[in-house]
Every structure is written in structure tokens, then in C-alpha cells.
């Protein structure tokens, strides 16, 4: 077994949060490594072909894949080392076990930043395992990155931003979208995204769900049904669409395995996607060497993930004594201000409150003297 490499900071995950964290840390003099299991960096940015919202600092008007390229260029300029096709399969305190291109290596880290992201949720209904039922993110990767349409006639389950955006991008790629189906009584995502697909004639059916998918060995049709006031399917309302592919856009769950393995404290936040590592406003977990950033800390979006990454990168570098407290405070304040902007407005408010709850909980447990907190 190859051993013995040491870095000031090791970041797990080369998506927006991880790359942003590594750039901030490296800029401040930390010898920084980013490890990612994929053979391309950038996380999910490279399938985002829509323009981002927000202010100039948040690169509004820039498309996701361009942001990804900018991050990679910047990381290279700051001397960040990036290992791809490298799976971190174990955290043993400050030692990471990595399977790099099929070989086992260990890496010692002064600080570890987990930016592992999230994975799409599945939902079960009769026929949900048939080939042709896919995650919306999987569809998006296929059409935008690999330029392959996995089907011809689509039904999308879920009207959050992911569902709406992927429907629009499916149409851009030349597919037919028969309907967006939403169990809740109203559309989940931004009005501007919903308007785009409605203008193209795609119905968004609220209060409706997929009651089953039918087909011999693959999706051949999709049966929709209206939900009654009791939340149950009304069998009278069933109607069939001749779709060959179903996209599931029903939320994401943070990828927290390494955080569990490290043994940091967790908190349950339904709003942010489930069990999350508890962290303070420096993105530090209950373990003194372990930071988190991006969707692992609660599912939000790429702009916030990058800002959280920056915060973690600065804080981790500070904790290693690489910058003075005053400089760190100023840098972190600027990032926090930008995060507050991202979490404002009718769509950001819920996330802001859920995040505030995490910080409150952390402060509470810290006061109660959780043994490990900042030990």
C-alpha cells in the first residue's frame, strides 16, 4: 500500500463547494488537495446550461458550465492538486483512505473539508423500477454533457426547479415533454422556469401523481391520477400518457456517509434534505479538524454551495494559522453577507430559517458541553 502523503487541507468533492473551498485555502498558502471519485471535476456544474440568477458576485447571467471552467482555471492557478477517479472510502480521524485509479493510498490531512454533495431521491410506485424511469439529474447529464437523449416522450414527476429546468432542457435537446406532474397543490419552482415550459405548451399538473408506469420490460405508458383531499389517489381520475421515459425530480438527499464515519454530530432537518452534520458559522463540525460545505450541509443550490465552500476554505486556513484573525474575520464577513443575500426572498427564506436552526442547535449543544465540540 502506498502511504504517506500529507496535505494541510484535503477537500473531498470537486464540485462547486469543494473547488471554491480549495481555492480560498490555497490562496492563503495551504497545501491543498481535492479528491473526487468522478473522472471529470466540476460536480454537477457541467450539466447546468442555464444562466444563473442573483447579483454580479454570484455570476448572474453566466451559465453553469462556464462557472465550472472558471473554478477549475482558478484552482489550477492557485496550485490546488486535484485527484480524479479517486474514491475516499474511509475517514480514520485525520487519515483518509483513498482508492486512486484502483490503488489504495492514504493521505494525512491537517484539516478535512467534506463537500460531497447530494444524490437524487427516488420514489416508489408500481413500475418505478422499469428501465426508462430515471433521475432528472441523470437525464440532464445525458442530454447536456453526453448529448444523448435517453428517450423521446417524457413525463417529469416534480415541479421544483430541477424538474422544470430539465424539462426545458429536454425540449432544447429535441425531446417531447408530455407533462410535469406535481403532487402538491402548487408549483414548487421559480415562476420564470415554469413560465418557460408552459409557453412551450407543456401542462404542469398540480395535485396529481403517477399512479403507475406500465410496460413490458421498459416504460410504455404512464398512468396519472388526481390526488383527493385525503392525499389518496382517486381511481376515477386515472388517465394514460404514451410516454417512454419518466424523470424523477423529487428532491435530493445529502451524501453524508463520510461524516457519519468520522463520527461528528448530526441534526435532522427535513427542509434541507434530512440528517446533516451539525456545523457552526465557520462550517466546522463537532470534530476539530472536519469542515463541511455545499449540499452535504443541506440541499440548496450551486451559488450558495460555492459561498459555503469559500467560508470553509478561509476558516480552515485560519485554524491552521495561515492568516491573522482580523483578516480572516473580514474575509468571512464578506462571504456571510453574500450568503445572506442568496438566502433572502420568498424562496430563500425557508432555507435561511432552516440554516439558522442548525446554528442554534450547534450553539445549544456546544453550551451543554458536547464532549467533542471544538475539543
Amino acid at each position: 500500500m502506498a502511504t504517506g502523503q500529507t496535505f494541510d487541507i484535503v477537500v473531498v468533492g470537486a464540485g462547486p463547494a469543494g473547488l471554491a473551498a480549495a481555492i480560498e485555502a490555497a490562496k492563503r498558502g495551504a497545501r491543498t488537495l481535492v479528491v473526487d471519485e468522478n473522472n471529470k471535476p466540476g460536480g454537477q456544474l457541467f450539466k447546468q446550461i442555464h444562466k444563473f440568477f442573483g447579483s454580479h458576485e454570484h455570476r448572474a447571467g453566466v451559465r453553469g458550465y462556464d462557472i465550472g471552467r472558471q473554478l477549475l482555471d482558478e484552482a489550477a492557478k492557485c496550485g490546488v492538486e486535484v485527484w480524479l477517479d479517486a474514491v475516499v472510502h474511509g475517514l480514520f480521524n485525520q487519515r483518509l483512505a483513498v482508492l486512486r485509479e484502483g490503488r489504495q493510498v492514504t493521505v494525512e490531512a491537517g484539516r478535512i473539508i467534506l463537500a460531497t454533495g447530494a444524490s437524487e431521491n427516488a420514489v416508489a410506485f408500481p413500475g418505478s423500477t422499469l428501465p426508462g424511469v430515471m433521475g432528472a439529474g441523470a437525464i440532464q447529464t445525458m442530454i447536456n454533457v453526453h448529448r444523448v437523449l435517453p428517450g423521446n416522450r417524457f413525463v417529469m414527476l416534480g415541479s421544483g426547479n430541477v424538474g422544470l429546468i430539465v424539462c426545458y432542457q429536454l425540449m432544447q435537446a429535441g425531446a417531447e415533454v408530455l407533462a410535469v406532474v406535481e403532487a402538491m397543490p402548487s408549483i414548487g419552482g421559480y415562476g420564470v422556469h415554469a413560465a418557460k415550459i408552459r409557453r412551450a405548451g407543456v401542462p404542469i399538473l398540480v395535485g396529481t401523481t403517477i399512479s403507475r408506469v406500465v410496460g413490458q420490460g421498459k416504460v410504455e405508458s404512464v398512468v396519472l391520477a388526481t390526488l383527493g383531499p385525503d392525499g389518496k389517489i382517486d381511481p376515477q381520475s386515472e388517465r394514460t400518457l404514451a410516454a417512454d421515459t419518466v424523470g424523477l425530480a423529487v428532491g435530493l438527499t445529502p451524501l453524508t456517509e463520510l461524516a457519519w464515519m468520522a463520527g461528528c454530530e448530526f441534526f435532522f432537518s427535513p427542509k434541507l434534505g434530512g440528517h446533516l452534520p451539525l456545523h457552526d458559522d465557520n462550517m466546522l463540525t463537532s470534530l476539530p479538524y472536519l469542515y463541511v460545505a455545499g449540499d452535504i450541509t443541506g440541499v440548496e443550490e450551486a451559488s450558495t454551495a460555492m459561498e459555503e465552500g469559500r467560508l470553509a476554505g478561509i476558516a480552515a486556513a485560519e485554524s491552521l494559522g495561515l492568516l491573522a484573525a482580523a483578516a480572516a474575520a473580514a474575509d468571512k464577513a464578506a462571504v456571510r453577507q453574500r450568503i445572506d443575500v442568496l438566502r433572502s426572498g420568498p424562496f430563500g427564506e425557508g432555507r435561511r430559517l432552516a440554516k439558522a436552526e442548525i446554528l442554534q442547535q450547534q450553539a445549544l449543544r456546544s453550551r451543554q458541553g458536547g464532549q467533542s465540540w471544538k475539543a
Binding site: 468522478n38 424511469v133 439529474g137 444523448v148 421498459k218
Partner: protein, 101 residues
């Protein structure tokens, strides 16, 4: 089906085309794209069958987590085709009998 023209991304840049074998059939694929993408481009959407009940499975998560798209590649079982790049001459077999082979 390949997305040849795109209003944002422009025309598809054709990479090096190679031939791979899937359950005995020779298909054209782009070198370096995931095996699953090459199969989907041909309309091949069933990647394997479950060992116990023989139910068909295809690409689901597309990021290497769910293992529904696992196939046998050059004799190695359980290869996640959605994250494994195509190389010229690969021999790929589905697990259509169920089980790990």
C-alpha cells in the same frame, strides 16, 4: 438518439468513434463517453436483470451510486456503465440471465 444540434451548446462535436461489442452486437460509440450513454444512444435501455426475480433495470441515477446500470465489461462483473468511459474494442455483456455474470 444523439443530440446533434442544440440552441445553447451548438453542434455536437464528434469525438473519435470506436466500436464496442454489446451482447454480441457491434455498436458505434464515442471514445470516452460513459458506456451507458453509448447504449442509450442506440436505444438500448435494459442493462441487466435482477438476480432473484429477473426484473429488468436500466440507467437510474447516472452518477454511479445506484448500480442499476451495472454490466460485465471485459470480463469484470458489476461495472457501473454510467461512470465507466468507453474504450475501443470493449466487450460488454448484460446480466440478462440474472446473477452476477
Amino acid at each position: 438518439m444523439r443530440v446533434e444540434k442544440h440552441p445553447v451548446l451548438g453542434d455536437r462535436k464528434v469525438g473519435r468513434m470506436v466500436t464496442i461489442s454489446v451482447d454480441g452486437a457491434e455498436i458505434e460509440a464515442v471514445e470516452g463517453e460513459p458506456i451507458a450513454a453509448a447504449l442509450l444512444a442506440q436505444g438500448m435501455i435494459v442493462m441487466r436483470k435482477t438476480p432473484r426475480f429477473g426484473e429488468p433495470r436500466g440507467v437510474f441515477c447516472g452518477i454511479g451510486r445506484c448500480t442499476d446500470c451495472a454490466m460485465t465489461v471485459d470480463g469484470v462483473p458489476n461495472v457501473r456503465t454510467c461512470v465507466t468511459p468507453v474504450k475501443a474494442g470493449m466487450v460488454i455483456t448484460s446480466n440478462l440471465k440474472g446473477g452476477g455474470e
